[in-house]
Point group: D2
Chain length 331, copies 4
């Protein structure tokens, strides 16, 4: 029975609390949030106490912490949790600064505590199945990976301003997925992007439409495209070509119903956004973390995976601004 | 906050207990089962007490009961629950005897208690969406309904022997669905069937493959086909033709992944069986019952819906044996 | 090089003329039509002569005739062609009268000439592939066949009046397909039908919406549904269930293009009607006839196949009118 | 009635000859081929004469020529045909040298003869429909185009050696398609590629797997991926994202049949290669050329379209070799 504390009671914290409540081998002991009402509401629904973040990190009756607070707090909480010997689940991105993530890696390594980075998409049943089939040789050696990721609509400009930009906020998931699927590190990256959805996003220095080509040392290729807008719902697709075939994961639609009429055949929109599409992924992710800690296995994705994705996001931002490819091996 | 008692802690009772646990407006007070260990295990997981069925039916701290016990116990439990003024959710079939269902209807009507029959498929998100679109006129007046229902594999012969036969055990769901979708009562039924999957099923007096044609007074048609076997998973599909188009609900596959190789394009099997396919349906069904009781609305499907489906199942069995159509209006 | 004559230069005659023109092992020598202009126009496009039907049937420079004239002329032309020793391709239905078809069978058998009945759908690449896979054991022994056939819109009432009714004019194709796929003769048939599309069709004594259940001696089942209307195009689908799986053939859509927008995912209508959907089937059918005659093989579907489908159509009409099943073995 | 001559009686010449034979407004007068037997065989099947290429180009009874000979002969034939005042249909690529294509443009412009470049894919019914819907505003302004093109298997090494390389031989079609769909010229290109399918292709200086990112002045993006191998058949797909939705064209499979068994749901391979997949495209292309010449309209794609695609192919080859983006505006 893993005794857990939760830092951050916002949308994602609530998702994790619900998962923990449904498990037999974990218990949510306490929750914390900068907004006391948020902590109290989640505590009431979860049968947990409210405590301060500091108390949770220092508590002797808590074995593991879930960090779902704003990104700029992760660094301090990771340091405190590691020093207190707690297992750590931390939402992505670990930090906006690659140097600070490296510092976190060092403290986590020194403390020897389990650490998992919250790249939830690895746990989506479709993508996980696709990865398993690659591992079992269903398509032989991989030649080209193609990832499509499009949000249903842009976030508020205020969010974009503090998001680190599309590559660090959105495509970072796809960088991790590309590494997860390819099984060979990327050595070179070229990114393009523009503000085609909303000029205000461009005026804020960001892009809302982007594409990236990545290559490995052996010449394997990954194409990623992102957009902040998709009229038909959250577009989350992957296609992997190998020597003996292709694997692809399609979107999950709202229902399986099809209407046929004088205009043709009509199916539903894709599930609206990440809370719907990745509901099972979030559940499987937290379950995997808890199972790893309980059994002594090393959780993945690791803090190193979080670091690599951030390095790629920084490189993409640089490439988009300079118009030149970036070498990923000189980090 | 609806205080609930659960009779029957088997597979379906566990499904309902889990749903109730996740709701804010209901609480599972007590559970009962003929096997004490089953009751204790579910009670422990649900934070409920174990009591005898009689105690639950007589309890003053319980407002509603969920009856998930063997079919031959439903009659007595419905009578006791109705007389005790409790809201009743009863699994299908209510009883194998149409006369005894009528007796239950009478006692429920006399007591004035809410009653819901457990035809879970009405609450499947796909079928519910299909029905809503019919109601909104998406295809105009209905002309023909086609229902396909195939189990992944036959149950044990011991189950078949006490099941009442394919029409009462399996196709009863499709009879309810046909009525739910058509919106006009059926007046005539013709059934055929054979034991093509397993001769032993035929020797037991039952069939494992069957088809039925139903017609309404205005000439509208429903075709149903059932089989106890489908190599590719639980096959649950509906197609409805109307004056301006068709609506169809396809199976839910295990994942959205597709493999393309030298043999073509390959997708996953359909979800294995009813616990997987109708997971959301069971949740939505119990939620609807609780919401109806809490708000004072009349729950549907009603006990009368349970009666009509049983009448149709009896008629199908008779038609299959005699080889002649059966008039449904002379019941 | 098979030297051919064509009787009937209407829509279907033109289809056959075009096929013959594209083949290396056949030549269209002459065409005939009751309307001289129709014959002349087709002759000009085909590099053929115009002759009278009688001259074609008597010609010594013609080996095979294609009969695509109105149904009531088939009987005389078949007799004349058989007696003249010509190979015969005759459009369905061979005749509206089962007795007269039997008379044609006798004269054809006596003459020993090759004869093929124009059930084009057996040559649709999708249905032919489905049949081949059944024959190769892809799904084991067949248990249930389901055929859906819906025209895009009803023909003129004047056509319906002389069509012999839906079962003889439209479902006759599905009766042949059911026999083609099942591989075991049907022994019993139950039909229902109504005029739901257009009351005037009902006033003319016909139906526009119908369903039939067929069973074989061993209990295998076939379900057929027909409608004179389908808003989304010509609906031609087949589904076959066997002991180890299912085979199904879907409609051919106008293009493979899909539009995704705020309303969901949208594909094209099904191909409009039989000239589009069965373009390849008509070509493959005539090619098969010519190849059979050239190689001395026996063409199928045979005149006996034409007879059986007509017997089933008569039985369906009777069953629909009486409301009772019809025994097919007492013909 | 357009009187036509055909230069080149190989695979593609035969395709064009068959199309012309089926048309009412054109006649194939003569054919030529370096291999006399090839010319004679096609002439026999087409009802045409055999002549030398020079005689066809000089003939007064021929209005238009179809050039389907090896690429290195195009330049001379185009010059001769233009000077003889003939309408010209020329297969792609027009020439391997951009300068020589410019010279052809000049002579064609000076002669004022109609000219069409054989980019057949513009006439594929799926892609043409997709383009028409873009033009009608189905998805608003385009933001991103994604083109996937994969051959079923690599050609012989001897072919690759004289092909000009993957970008000039294969991706040139996709460059034309990108321009056709985007409606705005591209200004920048970045290409990557490797020999992942066969190392011998790499040793020959070519690649067999490649990806390209193109951008327009306004920031719109096109992603292209190519491979010389696809186990599941010829993979020809397009996806276009716009401000209000997405349009995509899927592959055409061999049949619509689906097999469901214990391993899941299985559909056929994609149509094998370009003769199958683009059968309608080749027919529509030649029909459009003939109609344009007959009506006096200007055929498209033009010789300028052929030039632009070749410029992009050259740029892609350079970018792949240097690892740097190439500016397309400085040509």
């Amino acid at each position: 029975m893993l005794k857990m504390g939760l830092l951050g009671c916002g949308r994602i914290g609530q998702v994790h609390a619900r998962t923990i409540r449904g498990l037999d081998n974990a218990r949510l002991v306490a929750v914390a949030d900068a907004v006391p009402e948020a902590a109290q509401a989640l505590a009431a629904r979860s049968g947990a106490e409210t405590r301060s973040a500091e108390d949770i990190l220092a508590a002797t009756d808590i074995d593991a912490v879930v960090i779902g607070t704003p990104t700029d707090t992760h660094f301090d909480y990771i340091h405190a949790a590691a020093r207190a010997g707690k297992a750590i689940f931390c939402e992505k991105p670990i930090d906006m600064s690659v140097d600070r993530i490296r510092a976190c890696m060092d403290v986590v390594a020194a403390a020897g505590v389990p650490f998992m980075t919250g790249f939830n998409r690895r746990f989506d049943p479709n993508f996980a199945s696709l990865r398993n089939r690659i591992a079992k040789g269903a398509i032989g050696a991989i030649e080209l990976v193609q990832i499509t990721s499009r949000d249903p609509a842009p976030p508020p400009l205020s969010y974009i301003a503090r998001s680190g930009g599309l590559f660090r906020d959105m495509m970072i998931h796809d960088f991790d997925m590309a590494r997860f699927l390819m099984g060979e590190e990327f050595v070179r990256l070229h990114a393009v992007g523009a503000a085609l959805v909303d000029p205000a996003i461009g005026e804020a220095g960001d892009v809302d439409t982007a594409a990236v080509i990545l290559t490995t040392a052996s010449g394997r290729i990954c194409q990623i495209s992102n957009s902040r807008r998709a009229a038909y719902g959250y577009d989350q697709r992957i296609e992997v070509h190998g020597e003996s075939g292709m694997l692809r994961a399609e979107n999950q639609l709202e229902t399986t119903v099809e209407l046929a009429n004088g205009d043709g055949f009509h199916r539903d929109r894709a599930q609206h956004f990440f809370l719907e599409r990745y509901e099972a992924a979030f559940r499987n992710e937290m379950t995997a973390f808890i199972d790893a800690v309980e059994t002594g296995a090393t959780p993945t994705p690791s803090i190193g995976d979080g670091l690599m994705a951030q390095i790629m996001a920084d490189a993409a931002d640089l490439s988009r601004q300079t118009g030149q490819p970036v070498d990923l091996t000189t980090g």
